[in-house]
Amino acid sequence: MSGPRSLSTVLILGIPILWVVVFMLLPYGIIVTYSFWVKAYPTFKPAFQFGNYLTLVTDPQYVQVLLRTLKISALVSVLSLLLAYPFAWWLVFRCHNQSLKTWAYMAVIAPLWVSYLLRAYIWKTILGTEGILNSFLMSTGIISEPSSLFLYNQFAMVVTLTYIFIPFMVMPIYTALERIPANLSEASSDLGMAPWQTFLKVTLPLSTPGIAAGFTLTFCLSFGDFIAPFLVGGPDGNLIASVIQSQFGSALNWPLGSALSIVMLVIVLAIVSLSDRIEARANTGAH
């Protein structure tokens, strides 16, 4: 290799590696370290013990929050999938008008560009006791008193997070469906398969990489959200991220907060590698 070529190699490889080491690996290393330390007034002191992790798996308060967060994220992912899949399927297989197709796709993705905070805030104003939903239900006579059932609970969080993250489910599923060659479903129907059989045996299996990618995104992003619990969650709507936030704020227990962050990091890594494996298997299986 000549001099300048290796210089450019050093640059394009060196800059990102340096960045990853300084701004990702080093910080992760620091919170891993802190997660073994102990809280000591006024801050914390070095130690090596598993007390923080032990607290997380034994103290019902934390176990409950962890389980609740997993449940909410799973519900958001499933609901997004159920809403996104028919849309993506329609877009790829039933929408033959090219410009309608472009517009419809853009329309679903566009909300991603609109402030995430605002999209959560809107639901606070819709679901509240004085909100649109209550006014609407009262004007139609379905209910006579404004109901407080809609806001400040897990239902509100699931609706809000689904609303926010649905584009992340549509995009990968659309891409996966788009890649399925048209002649496959034609062949399937020529062989006498009913449309639903074609869907179950051809389309659905071939779109698993998209489903896996969408599931990963919506699950992980809901899992780490603290805006929805803050705005629409209510008293028993704490999610992990809100607990982490308070450990680094008012509760002032950085070691415990670090341990929780590590738990979150590990769960996200596990989901990402699981989804990678599903995608890899689907891709090799397709040939």
């Binding site: 070529r5 605002l118 899992f223």
Partner: protein, 267 residues
């Protein structure tokens, strides 16, 4: 084939179209609600809106804290985007062109912040900055955003690089162009639209970012952080007015990104 069951096919298509319309309503009615309330003459957000007013917008334009926050957000988003583009394009080139030990790990790490909740990035970087004696500031926010956005730039630019015929760069270097010249005159013009698209998206995401900003900012607020702290005090149509302006700005940016990221060269 399609003529076999015209009636059931028609019914299915109608059902699907209805569904698509409902999904669009789910996505867009809330945004219209947000906009409608920004003109409400009542302080509480109840339906029906009692009257029309522009007071909330007048209040906004008199709000100096808010204006400072907007300026801060522009500062942060501009530099975070520039950094993310420099590092991200380099990383995409490295992933596309080079083979090196640990490449898979490198790719996974650099794409991790796409799925990793911002709170982890924010907290881990906060701890590092504290440890090395840097106080939280808009500059630490910039570094945090750039880290969180790297993955976005890398995915978009890498996808474009893969569609680029390798022969172009080879021809350039065979003709004796040094690598930097090949990069500037051959590679960059060809990935231009992907770079612009990634840059615009990064800018918007940074402008909108909360979790990383929450932990890394000092006394200065960015716009979303300012709105977030206003929301602690309750909902007011003033927030809806800011929101409406943000929706408008987003719309302009979306149109801009569609126009700019189109390839000018005929395909």
């Amino acid at each position: 084939m399609t003529q076999r069951k015209p009636l059931s096919r028609f019914a299915a298509d109608t059902a699907l179209m209805t569904y698509v319309a409902l999904l669009m309503a789910f996505l867009y009615v809330p945004i219209w609600v947000l906009i409608a309330f920004s003109f409400s003459s009542s302080r509480s957000l109840t339906w029906p809106i009692p009257g029309f007013t522009l007071d909330w917008y007048r209040k906004l334009f008199a709000n100096t804290d808010l204006q400072a926050a907007v300026v801060n957000s522009f500062y942060v988003a501009t530099f975070a985007t520039i950094l993310a583009l420099i590092v991200g394009v380099a990383a995409a080139m490295a992933l596309h062109r080079l083979n090196f030990p640990g490449k898979t790990l490198f790719r996974r790490l650099i794409l991790l912040p796409i799925t990793l909740p911002g709170i982890v990035t924010g907290i881990s970087m906060l701890n590092m900055f504290r440890l090395f004696g840097f106080n939280p500031s808009l500059e630490t926010v910039i570094l945090g955003h750039a880290t969180a956005l790297l993955g976005v730039v890398v995915t978009q630019v890498f996808a474009r690089l893969q569609r680029l015929p390798r022969s172009l760069e080879e021809a350039s270097s065979d003709l004796g162009a040094p690598p930097w010249k090949t990069f500037l005159l051959v590679t960059l013009p060809n990935i231009r639209s992907a770079v612009i698209g990634a840059g615009l998206l990064s800018f918007v995401l940074s402008f909108d970012e909360i979790p990383v900003t929450f932990f890394l900012t000092g006394r200065d607020n960015t716009l979303p952080m300012y709105i977030y702290s206003t929301m602690r005090r309750g909902v007011t149509p003033e927030i809806n007015a800011v929101g409406t302006l943000i929706v408008l700005a987003s719309l302009v940016l979306i149109i801009l990104s569609v126009l700019l990221s189109r390839d000018r060269s005929p395909r």
